[in-house]
Subunit: 495 residues, 2 copies
């Protein structure tokens, strides 16, 4: 049976060339969606029909549909077929505006290939506050007044050099306070001059990638892993290579050439699955990095929040002079809008990377950095973390109890450890987590589908659920609504 | 006559290949300096000897030495010869640490080519506050208390969504306030949804370059021009092509292919020379951009400060739907440490570029943005600018009087207009402005040599002198010291 959508796909498919057939098909469909030729709500041709029409095996078509679904391009409603989703609309806007605007006749210059690539992989949530949004702390319980007291003192002094640009990589007092804190709390070995203060983790990752990788280099990323690092790598023409993760963290084995320039890991609390990297794996990773002369980038984004058992010291501090670039942030321990993070740079690259930072991004914000240094130095930082650790631990416990009671033990992610600001709600293997998430999002429940964190096909389906920022009452009522959505979805033959 | 330095250069020169001879020689010497093979204070071989040894024309060698001198690699002391300067030490540090550190035996992975390239072109001043530093406003006279009042109100409200990440391109209230301000003060035509709030101008330039240029594309930059844009272009594998500037601004003529993707200009107040782009040139530039389907990036960094004559409305607002991306900053009108800038995006690219921004950099700082919106909305912004305009105008006048009195009329830059936060002190044509600046810097006078703002050989020699942030008393005593340095330098045969 021929359909309009089928025609669009067929045309795009035959215009493409090179590559393997499933890649061509994937690109034909995804670009047709992005270009608006397959509009939101358009029904996709049944896999059997499309396979016949394009003379492909049905498995190839199925595999491509699955990937498109995992990435949020399409979603399937059991019994009704597969449809282009509305969530790609964000990307479409630009192009449809281009098409409709009064300037359209002038045919404005195209977006760059890297821009289109990034838009295709866009993953930041369009909403950044709401029920179950992963990765945000409780910003309301933060002692704003105390930090403000220190900040006010800084603004009263109004040192002109604190109000100008900064080319020193951050306030010295903050570097000093962080050195102490990171040594005692995270086992990080460094001196203050190895610390560079950044605008959050993204800037640190961008700086490190640009400084240490040439275009065409490869970098290992965890599979599943954080979307941000993959975006930043692609933007800098570095190829992310997904490396599987299990209950002991990244499975680091020497692979064939080319060796990666960078190895991105989250050893304390794997993002998003939650496992802790075992000591054996840590040692293996360090020796692999030395062997391949790569740098490990340790993203220690929320390690402060471990609710039971031993805290896990950093990979960076495991050995003297380890080949590790340690990256941290105040977004999880204080609040994201501060936009303050830090990198601990190995001595050999500290000076050039600081210079890179000053040339590329220019620094500033020295008053708030100096205030934060006092906040840390006088013990408020550690006290706030202790308090939040208890609070988040209780909230996590409550969410675990709700999941177990309303859905069952099987719905707790396999690798969840008792830590962090989010957990994984596991869904049955062939469940369309993107469709569940989309329905939930429409009701203001900002869970995110686990499959989106995979580069290849997802080996697990589930939902990332942030709990740290949610008041207990809200947590319960929101979860009741989410559970209802999940149960309804499960009634359908293909969840 | 053979010398050790000559041997080092000869070896590096013969190892290089491709390219024109002067480029090979330039690269051989500069990389030998950066690698530490020609250490600071090393005497360079006389041009005549080196020319003979390498079988090059003496003119080629002279030209390369001049460029190296302009870029601060070497400086010449009359009668004694040419020496590797100490000011490149910043870049050297990293390598010498690499060489000396206890981890040296492990031979850490190299820096990327783009990193080395940027370090070679590094231009940010290592000090960001002091006498004559160009580009900083009077941060002390800013009404910190008023802005703080609005900020305190925001922090008391403590809206959780203002404390989380931002994926909307900035606080809506600030976009609205800016739309009004930019329309009335700068003649910019836009709606609030075209505005994106950024971390200063560098982030805006980086975003625009990445979104609109593919690697290998070219972009026009003003010659002389701002170092930051050239760094950002190179970092993103886009080639800056220098286009000359005269008293009417950029000399925009249709040149041979390939057409530039972006045209970077500072029409209101050319950076660093100070000329204003004439109406004819503006119209020519707009039609050229339409013809080549390029975007113009208008960097309107300090246009608020024009002390006499008509204010110059923006290029962006000259035509409806102009192909102009307008970039501005609060670093000059308020203070740099705020790290707040903005882009006005043409409608056709507003949505994708905002998405790019959220994916790559993540937003935040919504409380201070909301406070700033009130500060603008209640008239404090315009009032502060008016007040500073008078103050800076007086300080400029005082500096001009000092220059005229102590050095003479000839020392006022040819294109200086009565505007901005800095002016050009013109030096005789063959004067080594880098050497003068270096001597001045050592005495805490943070002038910058004009020749460093050229990509090719400098057609003018002079000093960039910031005056806006200097108290009148300091201005006079600092200038007396600078004038003495200049006069002493002029006694030498080659200034």
């Amino acid at each position: 049976m021929r359909s309009l959508a089928g025609d669009v796909i067929r045309q795009a498919f035959f215009q493409s060339s090179g590559q393997k057939l499933h890649k061509r098909l994937y690109q034909a469909i995804s670009s047709a969606i992005l270009a608006g030729n397959l509009p939101p709500s358009a029904r996709m041709p049944p896999t059997r029909d499309l396979a016949e029409e394009l003379e492909l095996s049905r498995n190839t078509v199925l595999r491509v549909y699955e990937q498109l679904q995992a990435e949020g391009y399409v979603s399937s409603l059991t019994g009704s077929g597969t449809f282009v989703t509305h969530s790609v609309l964000d990307n479409l806007d630009a192009r449809s505006i281009t098409g409709m605007d009064e300037t359209a006749s002038e045919d404005p210059p195209a977006l760059s290939a890297r821009c289109l690539d990034l838009l295709e992989h866009a993953s930041a949530s369009p909403q950044q506050w709401g029920a179950f949004l992963p990765g945000v702390p409780d910003v309301v319980n933060f002692p704003h007044r105390v930090l403000k007291k220190f900040y006010d003192r800084q603004t009263r002094q109004a040192l002109p050099q604190h109000l100008s640009y900064d080319s020193t990589g951050g306030a010295d007092s903050l570097k000093l306070a962080l050195t102490d804190y990171l040594r005692t709390a995270r086992g990080v070995r460094c001196s203050p001059d190895q610390i560079l203060i950044t605008e959050g983790i993204h800037q640190a990752l961008d700086l490190v990638t640009r400084s240490l990788c040439n275009p065409g280099d490869i970098a290992w990323t965890e599979e599943p892993g954080y979307w941000g690092i993959k975006n930043i790598l692609r933007m800098n023409a570095v190829e992310p290579v997904p490396i599987a993760v299990d209950e002991q963290g990244l499975i680091a084995e020497r692979r064939q050439a080319p060796a990666p320039k960078l190895l991105f890991v989250t050893p304390s609390h794997q993002y998003p699955l939650g496992s802790v990297m075992s000591l054996g794996r840590r040692q293996a990773l360090l020796s692999l990095a030395r062997e391949t002369r790569s740098w490990i980038v340790e993203d220690d984004y929320d390690s402060e929040f471990r609710f039971s058992g031993q805290p896990v010291p950093s990979l960076q501090g495991l050995e003297e002079n380890s080949p590790v670039i340690y990256v941290g942030t105040f977004s999880k321990t204080l609040y994201p809008a501060l936009r303050l993070g830090y990198v601990v740079l190995p001595k050999a690259i500290a000076t050039p990377l600081k210079k890179m930072h000053s040339e590329l991004y220019r620094g500033g914000h020295l008053q708030v950095q100096a205030a934060l240094a006092e906040f840390i130095g006088e013990g408020y930082y550690a006290a706030h973390i202790r308090k939040m650790r208890q609070l988040y631990g209780r909230r996590r416990q409550m969410l675990v109890a709700l999941i177990t009671r309303l859905l069952g033990q099987d719905y707790l992610g396999r690798y969840n450890s008792n830590a962090g600001l989010h957990l994984i709600l596991q869904l049955p293997e062939n469940c369309d987590d993107a469709a569940v998430a989309q329905q939930a999002n429409q009701q203001g429940l900002l869970v995110r589908p686990l499959s989106r964190y995979f580069m290849g096909s997802a080996s697990d389906r589930g939902l990332l659920m942030g709990f740290a920022h949610m008041q207990e009452r809200e947590l319960e009522s929101a979860f009741l609504r989410l559970a209802a959505i999940i149960k309804e979805q499960e009634k359908k033959p293909r969840c």
